[in-house]
């Protein structure tokens, strides 16, 4: 526990809560398994934007990884909804959509970074580090 009462990780850094959103279970597990930040605690995963919105309200994450092509509510809409709820949230888009216009749109909606699939563990962790800066 830090001096102000907030949870801390093993190295004394404040713990940050991570929510992972992707309609692929494999991708959700991959991101959870591959992220290497002691201070990041996975508080939940969601398979579409609607589920993500509900989970976000319950768990109040600090960092979110967000797929874009998902059923029910897509990632672009979800980003806008999450940022409206919590402007300080840090969102990393993790998507196969490789056109620049989509990346621009995601950033304009409030995303803080964009990582294309497929990615290596190193690329994932560099991208997460960048959005947490």
């Amino acid at each position: 526990m830090s001096s102000n009462g907030s949870p801390t990780s093993g190295n004394g850094k404040r713990s940050l809560k991570l929510m992972i959103v992707d309609d692929s279970n494999i991708m959700r597990r991959r991101i959870e398994r591959s992220q290497q930040f002691e201070e990041l605690e996975v508080v939940g995963t969601a398979g579409d934007g609607e589920e993500a919105l509900e989970l976000f309200k319950r768990t109040d994450p600090d960092v979110v990884t967000m797929d874009l092509t998902m059923p029910r509510m897509d990632g672009i809409e979800c980003i806008g909804r999450l940022v409206a709820l919590k402007p300080a949230v840090r969102i990393l888009v993790v998507s196969a959509l490789a056109d620049k216009a989509t990346a621009v749109e995601a950033m304009e909606r409030g995303a803080n970074g964009f990582l294309n699939k497929p990615f290596t563990d190193r690329q994932l962790n560099e991208a997460i580090a960048e959005v947490m800066r």
């Binding site: 692929s24 092509t69 998507s95 196969a96 959509l97 490789a98 699939k117």
Partner: protein, 148 residues
């Protein structure tokens, strides 16, 4: 009409997927025109394409290949559901990456997955279907691209 030079986008996307996600390159054969009903393996991930171009892109692979692919991806769940998840994710990744060249108006659907079943799609005027053969670690799979 799908032109042969546009197939390069899908060939490169497939190559990239196996190099990065599977950490082992695949051998991609020369695309050829599909004649007759589509040939499929046990699992098929289908992406419907709309917008500026219309059609489908699907990735079809045998269970044996998907099992090894999952192992290479550090997965230890080899259930039927996970196979379906993987084949859909492969199709989604390759199709989404194609937007780098085709642009934002190349609209991709969420994947639908078939098991031991052939995708049904109607051919629109000008639509051509190509098969891209994939060989990976002695396993064979196909990427089929059928676009106006």
């Amino acid at each position: 009409m799908l032109y042969e030079q546009e197939l390069k986008t899908f060939v490169e996307g497939t190559t990239n997927f196996f190099e990065v996600a599977a950490q082992q390159p695949a051998s991609i054969g020369s695309p050829y025109l599909m004649e007759g009903p589509p040939a499929v393996h046990e699992y098929t991930g289908v992406i419907n394409i709309s917008g500026k171009r219309e059609g489908v892109v699907y990735f079809t692979a045998p269970k044996a290949m998907l099992t090894v692919l999952l192992m290479k991806m550090q997965e230890n769940d080899f259930s039927h559901e996970t196979m379906r998840d993987l084949v859909g994710e492969v199709a989604n990744t390759i199709s989404g990456n194609a937007r780098r060249d085709f642009g934002r108006d190349f609209v991709i659907s969420v994947p639908s997955v078939l098991t031991n079943e052939k995708p049904e799609f109607t051919h629109k005027p000008g639509q051509r279907s190509f098969i891209i053969p994939i060989n990976w670690r002695s396993h064979s799979a196909k990427l089929v691209v059928s676009l106006t």
